[in-house]
């Protein structure tokens, strides 16, 4: 499991946000944190999620999220295991 940061641009609705979170759960990802903020565009929100996820699932999740009707953009960056600081 590696930490990933997913940034998802969503046409605003409660259902759309929940659908993103459910899809994330389907990928067997562990949600560490999530933050919703305004995107600057009317009716569009920016969801930033930090997830613990099997590396091979990351691309699938990115594509799966992009399939969702209310999702306009998805970006993903790998953050690593988060263990390096502990070992230091």
């Amino acid at each position: 499991m590696l930490r990933h940061k997913f940034t998802v641009v969503i046409e605003d609705s409660l259902e759309a946000l929940v659908k993103v979170l459910l899809t994330t759960r389907q990928a067997q990802a562990k949600l560490i944190s999530a933050e919703v903020c305004e995107s600057g565009i009317e009716n569009v929100k920016l969801l930033t999620m930090s997830l613990s996820l099997k590396p091979e699932k990351a691309e699938w999740l990115k594509r799966k999220l992009f399939n969702l009707p209310a999702v306009l953009e998805v970006d993903c960056t790998t953050l690593g295991t988060g263990l390096s600081k502990i070992s230091e």
């Binding site: 259902e15 569009v44 594509r63 992009f66 009707p69 209310a70």
Partner: protein, 581 residues
């Protein structure tokens, strides 16, 4: 100003909706009232799950969304199985549910349930409409979402007072969601990458033993012609997944049949022997390819699918191309014919075809010549049904026998529950299929276990004169359960027996003739293969609904079978048949 429900009905009419399957309830009465003045036909089913299956069957035959409606609470929750079934098999079903009035939401009101929350993970789109003026536009959006890209079910949940509110009847025929509105303006559907097409073509041209796997995506994208042209040019055999049955005629010389756990010998062996696989509109389910690691070994894989999230999900392809099957197959064909001559017939295909033919011969000659075996019965049914007849099935042994030996000649003529494996799907799906294609013969080949789950679909068959032929493979057992308990649980049979105690404590079967007749449909027992032939022939000729009870031996097994966790080469075949010989 008009009622929002009236605007919704107008939007549905504008989209070409001609039928709705469902059951009314308190929360949907304004909707039904609006439908009173519409030409949209309503079919009163007797259970909402069956209404969803009917809408699903309609969608599969027609190639456009089927619409189902249910009231709030239990009506809505009864939809769940049907909706998940449509999701798993990528079928565009639009569900419209009633909901308690907006001011009662969250009060645990009578028949209130959060159906949007329940269906959110298993639909492409699920929304509760809170603003009456948006109801008609929401339908247009949902219709678009259900059909765009990989199709799937959608839910529109409507509080009763939203249906009843007065609104200006304004909506656009185009989707309002930003994502689709933008792509609508840009008018650029997913373009296949030319470099990937070229690379895939190169691999296919150089393959010694190429095999094409056609999945449900080929049928959804109406790509039969393109698939056939490419296969014939490459002289590549075609194998299919269960949803892909019908993507190429069963009697085409290059068609080897269905693959998988209950796949045909020659089809599974084709995959085992292949050096290259072109998989189109396939999601590589565990039931189709067995072990993913063995499948990956020693062969190049080209995967084409409209859903980019399927590419690389279960197997890692050599080349993966996202896009519509019809277009990509056409581009592959164009690329290949510009670079190489038509390929010669491949000896391994002839060899595998011969194995398949000897297997059919073996199965047709098993046991006493007069015995009703599934293979013989299906041969008789096929001979009596028109070539373009539509056949639906339930789920279980009978379904697997159909996929193994029932010939399917045209796309959208075998309607079966694949991904979810929903017992009881066959009869209500046949209702939808017959409504979609009233001029064609529709037959449901069912098991007794499946049939009893949704047999009240006979009532709308009688009520609306929807003449479906239903043939029950009656082995008085949950056959597939019995088969697994036999093979993998040391014959410790448990709860597979469907026999009932009749008067005088004699064991027997449900009387399907009386059951059918109690619901207004004629029933008959086929005591022999000749009886079966005569009954099917009469039903086709007269165009009347008929239930045929076909008693079969409960010890019949579905073979070949690949045991769970094994590779396709480890098929179990009937005793006495050796496909290596």
């Amino acid at each position: 100003m008009v009622r929002a429900a009236d605007a919704l009905v107008k939007a549905m009419e504008a989209k070409g909706v001609d039928v709705i399957f469902g059951i009314p309830g308190g929360a949907t009465l304004p909707f039904y009232d609006a439908l009173y003045d519409s030409n949209i036909r309503t079919i009163l089913m007797r259970h909402e799950q069956q209404a969803t299956h009917a809408a699903d069957g309609y969608a599969r035959v027609k190639g456009r969304p089927g619409v189902v409606t249910a009231t709030s609470g239990p009506g809505a929750t009864n939809l769940v199985t049907g909706i998940v079934n449509a999701m798993m098999d990528s079928q565009p079903v639009i569900a419209i549910t009633g909901q308690v009035p907006r001011e009662a939401l969250g009060t645990d009101a009578f028949q209130e349930t959060d159906i949007t929350g329940i269906l959110l993970p298993v639909t492409k789109y699920a929304v509760t409409v809170k603003e009456p003026s948006k109801l008609a536009q929401t339908f247009v959006d949902a219709y678009h979402i259900a059909t765009a890209g990989r199709p799937g079910p959608v839910l529109i949940d409507v509080p009763r007072d939203v249906f009843q509110a007065d609104v200006e009847p304004h909506w656009k025929d185009e989707p309002s969601l930003i994502k689709y509105a933008l792509s609508h303006l840009a008018r650029h559907p997913q373009e296949p990458n030319p470099e990937l097409i070229s690379k895939a073509a190169e691999i296919l041209m150089n393959a010694e033993k190429p095999v094409i796997i056609a999945g449900g995506g080929v049928i959804i994208s109406n790509a039969t012609e393109e698939l056939t042209k490419l296969a014939e040019y490459l002289m590549a055999p075609v194998v299919v997944t269960t949803p892909g049955l019908g993507s190429i005629p069963s009697d085409h010389p290059l068609m080897l049949g269905v693959i998988g756990m209950h796949g045909r010998v020659e089809a599974n062996m084709a995959l085992v022997e292949s050096d290259t696989v072109l998989a189109v509109g396939v999601r590589f389910s565990d039931r189709s390819v067995g072990r993913f690691d063995d499948f990956q070994k020693g062969r190049k894989i080209i995967h084409v699918d409209i859903d980019a999230s399927e590419l690389g999900k279960n197997v890692t392809p050599t080349v993966s191309i996202a896009g519509d099957a019809k277009r990509i197959l056409a581009e592959l064909y164009a690329c290949i014919i510009s670079r190489t001559a038509r390929k010669e017939a491949r000896p391994f295909v002839q060899r595998l075809k011969a194995i398949g033919e000897s297997f059919d011969e073996f199965m047709n000659n098993c046991g006493e010549p007069s015995k009703i075996t599934p293979w013989r019965a299906l041969k008789v049914i096929r001979e009596e049904l028109p070539r373009n007849a539509i056949v639906t099935t339930g789920v279980g042994q009978h379904q697997m026998w159909v996929q193994l030996c029932f010939k399917v000649f045209e796309p959208r003529t075998l309607i079966t529950s694949c991904g979810l494996g929903t017992m009881g799907f066959g009869l209500p799906a046949a209702v939808g299929a017959k409504v979609a294609a009233p001029d064609r013969t529709v037959a449901c080949i069912d098991g007794d276990g499946s049939f009893t789950m949704t047999c009240q679909s006979l009532i709308p068959i009688a009520q609306y004169d929807i003449p479906v032929i239903c043939i029950i493979f009656d082995n008085r057992t949950l056959g597939m359960i019995r088969q697994w308990q036999d093979l993998f649980y040391q014959r410790r049979y448990k709860d597979e027996n469907l026999e009932i105690y009749l008067k005088k404590r004699t064991k027997g079967s449900v009387d399907y003739v009386k059951l059918a007749e109690s619901m207004g449909v004629e029933g008959a027992v086929a005591e022999s293969l000749d009886d079966l032939r005569m009954l099917v022939r009469r039903a086709v000729r007269t165009g009347q609904a008929l239930v045929i009870d076909l008693p079969i031996d409960r010890e019949e097994r579905v073979l070949p079978m690949v045991p769970p966790g094994k590779w396709l080469s480890q098929m179990m075949v009937p005793q006495g048949f050796d496909f290596h010989a």
